[in-house]
């Protein structure tokens, strides 16, 4: 029982990450009709916002302490972060909480990046075939990756979660199932975080006039345009929102997986599968498929399951994708007429 609950938690957790990335991807596709292969790069840029913010906070002054020597005889260098020197305890607190705090940096950065990307490049590809959109965004993703690699190196850079959340939570006791069921705090927080972001995006689209116009534009761009609404500008904002969602998802993921320049590409492939399984352009489908695939993958990696079907944990996601696409041509919740030219 514990084992199964644990796998469900783990699956929800993975699913949350998949759903967050897929959400932005499908939002862009649904509104702009663009297949954005650079979406993974946006996730990666978000993660590196956390890295950059942390680096900024931990800039150190170097003083040489002649009283101590290193084992090879040179004088010991003593490093002290400026923030700690200036702010004392609250500086330490800030460094400790640098990951969640860097969301504040990530939001404006990703918004600007997203808008610049849409204005500068994506806009010119609305009318071009999907294959060219894939190719140009793929090229853009390579460019972004390489720039990040140039400045941050090729190696993953670990970003610790705040000390208070590094341990495990006794989930069993929280939900009244008695002892056991330990689960890392930060992963629980990530799950809660992804659910609230998903909720916020849905609420924005459903309950604001702005969102309503965007949804109308997704259905029929021309009519909305004829009503005198500047749908183009709203679409730019939608792209910016998608970039922010991907970015903050990246920020919060850093304590779970140390980010490197390649992290976006790894998620991109999976999230494309998620989007297609959910149905191109369907927001609900993307979220549903994200959690579904996360949980399936988690169950498939249980030893009991692997004993019956060896290797299933490695292919389950792709297998589900093939089966869904062959039986439900539009994915779980796709609309008719999308991508079927």
């Amino acid at each position: 029982m514990d084992a199964i609950l644990l796998q469900i938690l783990n699956g929800l957790d993975k699913g949350g990450a998949y759903a967050l990335i897929a959400l932005g991807l499908t939002l862009v596709f649904g509104t702009l009709g663009v297949v954005n292969f650079a979406h993974g790069a946006l996730f990666m840029m978000g993660a590196f916002c956390a890295v950059a913010f942390n680096k900024l906070l931990t800039l150190q002054s170097v003083t040489i302490d002649p009283s101590q020597t290193t084992p090879w005889g040179s004088p010991m260098e003593v490093r002290q972060p400026y923030v700690e020197a200036w702010l004392g305890e609250s500086g330490k607190f800030l460094v400790d909480y640098s990951v969640p705090a860097s969301i504040l940096l990530a939001i404006p950065v990703m918004l600007i990046v997203g808008i610049a990307m849409e204005r500068g490049l994506i806009r010119h590809f609305y009318k071009r075939p999907h294959s060219e959109q894939i190719l140009v965004t793929f090229g853009l993703a390579i460019v972004i990756q390489e720039i990040i690699k140039h400045y941050f190196g090729a190696n993953p850079i670990p970003q610790p979660a705040p000390a208070a959340f590094r341990g495990t939570a006794a989930v069993g006791e929280m939900i009244g199932l008695g002892q056991g069921l330990p689960y890392p705090w930060w992963r629980l927080i990530y799950l809660a975080f992804s659910l609230s972001i998903i909720g916020a995006v849905f609420a924005f689209l459903r309950f604001t006039t702005y969102g309503m116009v965007v949804r109308a534009g997704m259905r029929d761009r021309e009519t909305v345009g004829l009503l005198g609404i500047n749908i183009e500008r709203r679409f730019t904002v939608v792209f910016g929102i998608a970039a922010v969602v991907a970015g903050v998802a990246g920020v919060m993921y850093t304590p779970i997986l140390p980010p490197d320049y390649h992290i976006g590409m790894e998620f991109l492939v999976l999230s494309f599968v998620v989007v297609v399984v959910g149905g191109m352009g369907s927001l609900g489908g993307a979220v549903l498929a994200g959690f579904l695939l996360g949980i399936l993958q988690s169950f498939a990696s249980m030893n009991e399951v692997k004993a019956i079907i060896p290797g299933i944990d490695q292919i389950i996601i792709y297998l589900v994708a093939v089966v869904v696409l062959l039986t439900l041509p539009r994915g779980l919740m796709g609309r008719a007429g999308v991508m079927e030219e």
């Binding site: 297949v35 490049l121 010119h124 999907h130 294959s131 060219e132 894939i134 190719l135 140009v136 793929f138 090229g139 853009l140 993703a141 390579i142 460019v143 990756q145 390489e146 720039i147 690699k149 140039h150 090729a154 590409m265 492939v269 494309f272 599968v273 297609v276 191109m280 060896p310 290797g311 944990d313 490695q314 292919i315 792709y318 297998l319 994708a321 093939v322 696409l325 062959l326 041509p329 991508m339 079927e340 030219e341």
Partner: protein
């Protein structure tokens, strides 16, 4: 197969053969005339040529073609292990295996089109890749890679009583092909030329025309009572066989098969090659493959010191900033160059390098005042 090519095609073919076979001399000034790199030109040329038969002619964008490379490699190495070190059986076996797998994947994936087709092929390729690292390790030897060992059966060779001391080399009737050297290159070059000939035949055949018709309008074809599927499947299988052949040549020149070559980034790479050179043209994809492989091997070997030596003649105030900007694009950063070129090509020159050539020659002809249209031996894109 009848050899009835048009005169222009013969010229194209002979010119191509000449260029390929003289690479060891003509590439000297570029520093690319060493066998390992030229073999890569040929092998990836074949891969891209085959990919282009699917993508260039029908417009179906497969994101899982690297799977066939891997399958071809594994099949070839198994042939070396079980039967003989002669390259030919290995190559034929790889082509057959890759072809059979392509029939299965193609049959399933071609039920969908557009991005759904791309995702299906990607899903299959990733399944192969992941399985090669897990349950299929008895067949693939996982991360370590499938390699020859001393106690391989090699039944035919042992029957012939070939004397062995250490691991044998891959050979073609006594000529050693693996382990470096020019024999391996010429072997790949000849196969590339044969593949090119076959590709010309496909492009010019009624079958090729049919595929182009499918690209421009599938529905119209369907309304005329025409069954698309067998034609698409045939194109998919042919391109799969080309990829399998390329994979087997990798194993011939270096008898080790690793699963990395099946990763989806490898599939992405062949797409880049094809687009860069010019999808739908005959020569373009091969050119694209050569350019990318050249960058990878030569550009990536540059570093700041090399740049400083090149720009030594400039005053320091110009040299230093120039070098620091350029160093972004070479060495470790050569992928950046690739990405930038690629973005520019897709934006401004969707027809790739070949379209660039055509535009240039168009300009030149107009400038010369001649009224001749710029067709010459350049193949037309499939659109």
């Amino acid at each position: 197969m009848a050899l009835n090519l048009s005169k222009q095609d013969w010229l194209l073919f002979l010119g191509f053969a000449l260029v390929v076979l003289t690479m060891p001399i003509t590439l000297q000034p570029l520093g690319a005339a060493y066998p390992a790199l030229m073999q890569k030109f040929c092998i990836f040329g074949i891969f891209a040529l085959g990919f282009n038969i699917l993508f260039g002619l029908t417009g179906y964008l497969s994101f899982g073609h690297a799977a066939f490379i891997g399958i071809g490699s594994y099949a070839a190495v198994w042939m070396f292990k079980l039967l003989t070190m002669n390259a030919l059986p290995a190559i034929f076996f790889s082509m057959i295996v890759a072809g059979l797998v392509a029939v299965v994947i193609g049959y399933v994936a071609l039920r969908r089109s557009g991005i759904y087709f791309s995702i299906l092929t990607l899903a299959f390729a990733q399944m192969f890749y992941n399985l090669a690292y897990s349950v299929l390790t008895p067949l693939t030897n996982g991360e370590t890679g499938l390699q020859l060992t001393l106690n391989d059966p090699r039944m035919l060779d042992n029957m012939a009583g070939a004397a062995t001391g250490g691991l044998p080399r891959v050979e073609l009737f006594g000529i050693g092909l693996s382990g470096g050297g020019y024999a391996g290159f010429y072997f790949c070059a000849v196969i590339l030329i044969l593949c090119f000939f076959f590709a010309i035949k496909i492009f010019r055949s009624p079958f090729g025309l049919m595929l182009r018709a499918l690209k421009s309008n599938q529905n119209r074809m369907r309304y005329t009572g025409f069954n698309n599927r067998p034609y698409l499947l045939a194109a998919f299988v042919i391109s799969g066989v080309y990829a399998g052949l390329a994979g087997s040549l990798m194993a011939v020149t270096d008898p080790l098969a690793g699963a990395e070559r099946m990763q989806w980034t490898a599939s992405g790479e062949v797409v880049l090659m094809t687009i860069l050179g010019g999808a739908g043209t005959l020569v373009g994809p091969i050119l694209g493959a050569a350019v990318i492989k050249y960058f990878e091997n030569i550009f990536s070997a540059f570093n700041e010191q090399t740049l400083h030596r090149i720009f030594d003649f400039l005053p320091d105030s110009i040299e230093n900033p120039l070098v620091s900007v350029l160093s972004l694009f070479v060495g470790e950063g050569w992928h950046l160059t690739l990405g930038v070129i690629f973005v520019l090509i897709v934006i401004f020159l969707p027809g790739g390098i070949m379209e660039g050539f055509r535009r240039l020659s168009g300009l030149f002809n107009r400038g010369g005042g001649g009224g001749k249209p710029a067709v010459a031996s350049h193949p037309q894109p499939a659109e």
